[in-house]
């Protein structure tokens, strides 16, 4: 159990939460319910989270499966240096982003999911986990016998 890389799961969760936030936000703004501006916020926050979490970080051991076309976002995410490298910063960021969406019924699920992702990011051991860019030049060799 000790060798589980929680960050990878947290990354998948955060990406999924971003999509849930976008969907909830669309339902809220399209329906023009009361306080629909929370829905608009939710769409923006969802898009931001999706873009941030799209490039998968390099695994500690073994080859990393890259998402399709992730090298473009990798270049952008790398620019922010320690803010995007450190997973604790990401955890706090996701927690803060999820709070405003909790006021509206349509986006409340996005809040819950993003908060869970933030919690899982905190499971990474201190200093041991960091987001490292997958080197675009290294060819991903398919496993062969």
């Amino acid at each position: 159990m000790g060798q589980i890389e929680w960050a990878m799961w947290a990354n998948e969760q955060a990406l999924a939460s971003g999509l849930i936030l976008i969907t909830g936000g669309i339902v809220a703004t399209a329906g023009r319910f009361t306080q629909w501006y929370f829905g608009a916020y939710s769409i923006v926050a969802g898009v931001f989270v999706c873009l941030l979490e799209y490039p998968r970080g390099k695994r500690k051991k073994g080859s990393t499966m890259e998402r399709w076309g992730q090298k473009y976002m990798t270049a952008v995410v790398k620019l922010f240096g320690p803010f995007t490298r450190n997973y604790y910063v990401r955890a706090v960021l996701h927690l803060l982003l999820s709070v405003p969406a909790g006021f509206l019924l349509a986006t409340i699920l996005g809040t819950a999911c993003l908060a869970i992702a933030s919690g899982i990011y905190l499971l990474c051991p201190a200093g041991g986990c960091a987001w490292r860019a997958v080197d675009a030049h290294r060819a991903q060799a398919p496993g062969a016998a």
Partner: protein, 553 residues
């Protein structure tokens, strides 16, 4: 999808009858009910491919004679994943529709039909509706559980951190318990006294909503003249155009259909798990442990009443190594009528196999040659579960089979070869092409003895063309040979470089004209894809290649 459409249709017609009276919004209700039907079906079907003992029984039983039906069982994992994805999508639709419903129930609270409302009073905060009612709360919990399960089930996670997938996937039981509670809230109601209060009937003692007199009402809504014989509107109680309500409507909650859908498969699955638990509770007796080159270890064991067919696999559980983990390994030797010993070959990759090897083999002897160690007093307790079926069992049921193995992927075919060594006559197989591709020359030593014995046996029985062995060494620096005089037969069948599949397929097609050849591959995905593509191509000899696929992770 069909269930959703029919349900949508029936709900629309029921709701529209009551539309003039009840003004609670109908699109959200329709969508949520339709997606609930789809979810009912999928939640019940998704459990069935996971009853692996049942599937293994079906595969081997005489009741499934057709090969086409057995091949359907090969796709059970894909079916499970498809149901999972469908549940994911339609849960999204269901949740979105219910969020809209919650809002509409509170805004359009109907005072006329108090029982039909989900909200307790007008403009009740929909968030309170969500969190304080049984369906709402269980629904939210189910979405959270589903979120955890789905994010941990992606291909990337399964390939890299299988543990996360396995532990979160066991939350499915919580999901089903919540589902059982979710539908028990009694939100959906039907009217019990349709005959005395039909839809669209006029209530005579309506005070606030309709202040018009009866004849005016009739003349507005019914353009036909009153038929003769009726002079007073009060006598219209028996008229077939309009009915007067005799009594107030009474509603009763629908019986939760979901319980009917999921109870069957859930009971079946629980029964299967119980049976597997009881069956695997007795530990096996380890007879011998052998160390092979290239990080492979062989374990031979016995267990009473254990029967397995060649090609099946078991899962090993060793509490001394890890209390919760189970790992699947294909049987390389099956128990026969004369010999009850069965065995597995494990490749040491990852922490579980490393710790397991350290427990069974003292570290000093791990690098030495093949040496059997008999230290039965020191072996840890080992439990097995299975055997479970796999597509490789089918290779004995074709007249001609092509078996391609990549590296450690040779294990399912080893059990087939062992069975043929024992007795080949009861099976339909008359010709076997066995191709084994390895990176390291030492890997061939895992089964070099078996191959030589098989080769000699068929030569003795004057059937030299029964087994055609081809060994390929895909990465090498120079000419290499398997060391040992007795491996002469194998050395003459050893080729350097990768096989040329197109030529091989053409050759097999030419020598087996008009026959159906079963193609089996156990190796990396790229190899599997190449063989699948070649199997589906036509050839000029009329030979048909049927590709049988095993999926890992």
């Amino acid at each position: 999808m069909l269930s959703a459409v029919t349900d949508l249709g029936s709900i629309e017609s029921t709701v529209s009858k009551n539309l003039p009276v009840v003004s609670i919004h109908q699109l959200g209700l329709c969508l949520s009910r339709a997606s609930a039907s789809v979810l009912n079906l999928n939640c019940s079907l998704i459990l069935l491919p996971m009853c692996r003992t049942l599937l293994a029984y079906l595969r081997g039983s005489q009741k499934v004679p057709s090969r086409r039906t057995r091949r359907l069982l090969d796709k059970s994992r894909t079916f499970h994943i498809t149901c999972g994805v469908t549940i994911c999508i339609f849960s999204g639709v269901h949740v979105a529709a219910h969020l809209v419903n919650a809002l509409n129930f509170s805004v359009n609270y109907s005072e006329d039909f108090v029982e039909l409302n989900a909200a307790r009073y007008r403009d009740e905060d929909p968030r309170k509706l969500l969190f304080t009612t049984v369906p709402g709360l269980t629904g939210v919990c189910m979405v959270v559980v589903l979120f955890l399960m789905i994010t941990a089930s992606t291909y990337a996670i399964r390939v890299s951190n299988y543990d996360i997938f396995w532990y979160t996937h066991n939350l499915f039981f919580v999901f089903y318990m919540l589902l059982t509670l979710h539908v028990s809230g009694g939100l959906l109601k039907y009217q019990t006294n349709l005959d005395t209060h039909p839809p669209g009937c006029i209530s005579l003692n309506r005070t606030s909503s309709q202040n018009i007199s009866l004849p005016e009402y009739f003349s507005e809504h019914f353009h036909e003249p009153f038929p003769e014989g009726f002079s007073k509107p009060a006598e219209f109680t028996q008229h077939k155009f309009v009915k007067i309500c005799m009594e107030e409507p009474r509603f009763q909650a629908n019986f939760p259909q979901t319980w009917l859908w999921i109870s069957g498969p859930l009971c079946l699955y629980c029964a299967e798990r119980l049976y597997r638990y009881i069956r695997s509770n007795k530990p096996v007796t380890i007879i011998s442990v052998m160390s092979h080159p290239s990080d492979v270890m062989e374990i031979r064991m016995v267990k009473e009443n254990f029967k397995a067919r060649p090609g099946q696999y078991i899962t090993l559980h060793c509490p001394s190594v890890s209390a919760l983990e189970n790992h699947p390994f294909t049987l390389t030797m099956c128990p026969t009528e004369t010999k009850a010993t069965f065995g597995v070959h494990l490749k040491i990759v990852g922490d579980w196999t490393e710790r397991f090897r350290d427990l069974l083999l003292p570290p000093s002897s791990q690098d030495s040659e093949i040496l059997p160690f008999i230290q039965s007093r020191n072996y840890p307790k080992l439990y097995i579960d299975g055997p479970f079926g796999s597509p490789f069992e089918e290779s004995l049921n074709y007249e001609v089979s092509l078996c391609v193995a990549g590296g450690i992927g040779v294990t399912p075919f080893a059990s087939i070869l062992n069975t043929l060594l024992d007795d080949w006559k009861p099976y339909k197989l008359r010709r076997l092409y066995f191709i084994w591709v390895c990176r390291d020359i030492q890997s061939f030593r895992w089964f070099a003895d078996l191959l030589c014995m098989l080769h000699n046996k068929f030569w003795q029985e004057n059937r030299p063309d029964y087994v055609n062995i081809q060994l390929y060494l895909s990465q090498t620096d120079g000419i290499q040979k398997i060391i040992g005089e007795k491996y002469h037969a194998l050395n003459s069948r050893l080729f350097i470089g990768r096989p040329r599949w197109k030529l091989l397929f053409d050759e097999i097609a030419k020598y087996n004209r008009g026959k159906t050849v079963g193609v089996f591959c156990c190796g990396p995905n790229s190899l599997s894809k190449t063989l699948h593509k070649l199997s589906n191509q036509n050839n000029s000899y009329g030979t048909r290649f049927e590709y049988n696929k095993e999926s890992f992770s």
